[in-house]
């Protein structure tokens, strides 16, 4: 199969890849770039474990071919600590990462990277989302461990830190 050359920016670094056109973006990220924080949880586009932040929005990287990312800018979980907002809270982490840790928003950790990037995308749009808005915005991300409640709190925590409000205990 003829391979395609693609160039995209991942976590601030320009990367070049030669891939088969049918290669899914999630496999390019995981296998060609060795960024294995992005996960695969289904084969039908439902679970959102593969969610990355691409050109300003949360996308499921299992529903795109790698060549469709040519020229785009992507943040994966591995890049979150290098974003300008990292360190705004009490740790060196991105406030969303810190929120998940502080509010026990993860257990097995498998949905966590996708869930956090969905949360980050939401917080770019709304700096003080309601619980319902948070739940709607993560409804493309399945979690089997947490029952979502602490994930909602984690994103609320991050919203507080990002907006300079005092996060909850």
């Amino acid at each position: 199969m003829t391979e395609k050359e693609i160039t995209f920016t991942v976590n601030g670094t320009e990367r070049e890849l030669r891939v088969e056109p049918r290669k899914l973006l999630v496999h390019a990220i995981r296998e060609d770039l060795d960024l294995t924080g992005t996960h695969i949880g289904c084969d039908t586009g439902n679970c959102g474990a593969c969610t990355v932040y691409k050109d300003g929005e949360a996308v499921k990287s299992c529903l795109q071919f790698a060549p469709q990312a040519d020229g785009s800018e992507i943040t994966t979980v591995e890049g979150m600590e290098d974003l300008p907002e990292a360190g705004m809270g009490e740790s060196d982490l991105h406030p969303v990462q810190e929120g998940f840790h502080e509010m026990h928003g993860l257990q097995c950790g498998f949905c966590t990277p996708g869930m956090m990037l969905a949360g980050k995308a939401l917080l770019e749009e709304h700096d003080d989302p309601s619980e319902t808005e948070i739940r709607q915005n993560i409804s493309g991300n399945l979690c089997r461990c947490t029952g979502y409640q602490n994930i909602v709190k984690s994103i609320e925590y991050a919203a507080d830190v990002l907006a300079g409000r005092e996060p909850p205990e």
Partner: protein, 790 residues
Amino acid sequence: EKTCGHDRGGMGEDVRRKEDRRFVTGEGTYVDDIKKDGMLHCEIVRSPHGHARVVDIDGSRAESMDDVVAVITAEDLAAHDLATMPTLMDDTQEVLVREKVKFQSQEVAAVIATDRYAAKDGAERVEVEYDTLDAVVDAADAKAEDAPIVREDLEEDTNHIFTWEAGDEEATEQAFADADVTVEQDMYYQRLHPAPIETCGCVADWDEDDEQMTVHMTSQAPHAHRTLFSMVSGIPEHKVRIVSPDVGGGFGNKVPIYPGYVVAAAASYVLEQPVKWVEERSENVQTTSFARDYDMTGRIAATEDGEILGIDTEVLANHGAYNAAAQPSKFPAGFFKIFTGSYDVPAAHASLDAYYTNTAPGGIAYRCSFRVTEAVYLVERLVKALAQELDADPAEIRRQNFIPEDAFPYESATGWEYDSGNYERALDKALESVDYDGLREEQAERIENDDDTLLGIGLSTFTEIVGAGPGKQCDIAGVEMFDSCEIRVHPTGTATVRIGVQTQGQGHETTFAQIVAEELGLDVDSVEVEHGDTDTEPYGLGTYASRSTPVGGAATAVAARKVREKAKSVAANELEADEEDVVWSRESGAFSIEGAPERTVTIEEVAAASYMNSPADEEPGLEAVDYYDPPNMTYPFGAYVCVVEVDRETGEVDIRQFYALDDCGNRINPMIIEGQVHGGVAQGIGTAMLEHVTYDDDGNVTAGDFMNYLLPTAMEIPEMETDYTVTPSPHHPIGAKGVGESPTVGSPPAIVNAVVDAMAHAGVRHVDMPMTADRVWEVLDDAGLSKEPS
């Protein structure tokens, strides 16, 4: 809220999780993250039919493809005696099928290729010719005399696997004869799937030079898997290393050994290269361990004033095409005989028949605690049905029949000895918290006003049985169900703790460190917990059935106390005192001379001394190991209240409130328990409202991926309220009971009871799960409760 201990991360503290850092930065290591030099990929060729003879398998087209390294069939495996494998229930399961496929998506052949895309291309080109056969997919049909026979290899003209009985049949018959009131209710606990977000997979790596097999796999029981791998392959156990790395959720799905693991290991052995196998979601739902599938008829007998006299039940169990239920060998129906629940039931009896069908194997999974989900569902539904029959308040019927606090340890009619409980206190707290009386008033008002929505209040006051278990009763493939811990305190006063249980997200790296911190007075940050590697960890039976805290947690506390005993003798040597004059302070973690508190050595100083100035009569070093054989199970309990609103126009059920009180004895980390409860209740809501693996009559899976097997999202799960009481387990070293599965065991009957409760005034007795809007609307309509859309 602290129950005891000090403030450096011991018992009872909401210690933030040690494992989070690597997960929130994407640095966790799950099976599919592993890459090895020369690693090949395995794709399984699966049956499109539910029941069919395999006429011919032709792999030649696949083999001729550039990137395909091998096509493997049962013939190839038979050369190494690996075409079949034993199940934990003394059955034999085919790894790859030779003559007849017995369920859809069953493993028929495997393709090994240089990458996963090539492996998939290869699998497409393996040509298999089938002769289809009539299929049978549920237990009632499998029982019929003219049913297609699933297991012709067993040379018996029946699909019947076994009959199991519990309790006293005669006494139960007498109880029903003496009763004023009896109620019978059919209920089907539907087939579910645990569906962890990470599917099953492995990387098998045979090292020809060292003659060692290393398998990184999604395993909840790596030591047991090593023993089984060794027995089946003939590779000596010390040359088999199983590593369970980070696991993206287990929920019982990752206890059995699946054909994919065996094929990958066999391929690695033959090809002398690492082989990775990672299944896709649809393969996971369609072929790995399902849960439940119990078709139950329950009967309850009582006096006219509500005293329960007996419970009787008949069950048809669907075990799929192989009896591969992952449970202790002497318990073919798991711990189902806990079905008398939280009640003092004088007579009880169960009889159960299990059948083979043309469906995937399994049965024990998904927070079931070995069939306790089914048992609790049965009794909690029966108690509700009895309350309806007597026109009594379901809370009061429960209170009236609870095993009283002073009756523990309590011997049940089916032979379990419940360790401790205070059910009435829990129920009282629950009813008060939700304003039960106010809810009943609101319910009556809505009926009075002919409102468009009905209010239903559902209760579940359940007793769990977790922590398998005593070695004389419980074994997995012959291995007694103990667990273990090894603690090594280093010269500088930090500690490494290795445990035989294995987390899949439940937070063991944090909570087991808390147990050690508590027992030794160390700071929790100084304690590192390791698990999952059979080369370094002590032998344990793994994590499932909420057994980690009861068994592994006990071993950890006992090992820590052994360390403390030795530390005391080192401290005495340091303090130049007699050992009997030395006391240890839980608060400070230091040893001092009784009556002379100024003469003190810290645990860190003792650790240093044990290496640098060891007493003449002691070995140097400071470490201990414990293998803990529990004297009994632990019996946590809960009082759950679910409040629903049922839309009379659409049948839609809205869970307005969910209150969960759990009592798991002493609480190691309340934050983590709360997270376990949230997740477990969410699975209970999925169970009650959405989830069902379905088959059509030909054996086609009609809900076998995430398009059709519906997991609840953040929109379906309401905010939940958690609560607790503390009734310690008297036999457990730290009074702690297991809890991880309680919420999934306890919540489905609360939800179903609530929906039935909403319609009870019109005579509705039951709705089968999942209670989808169309199903509920049918019931509403039959009861004359439906309304035309306004």
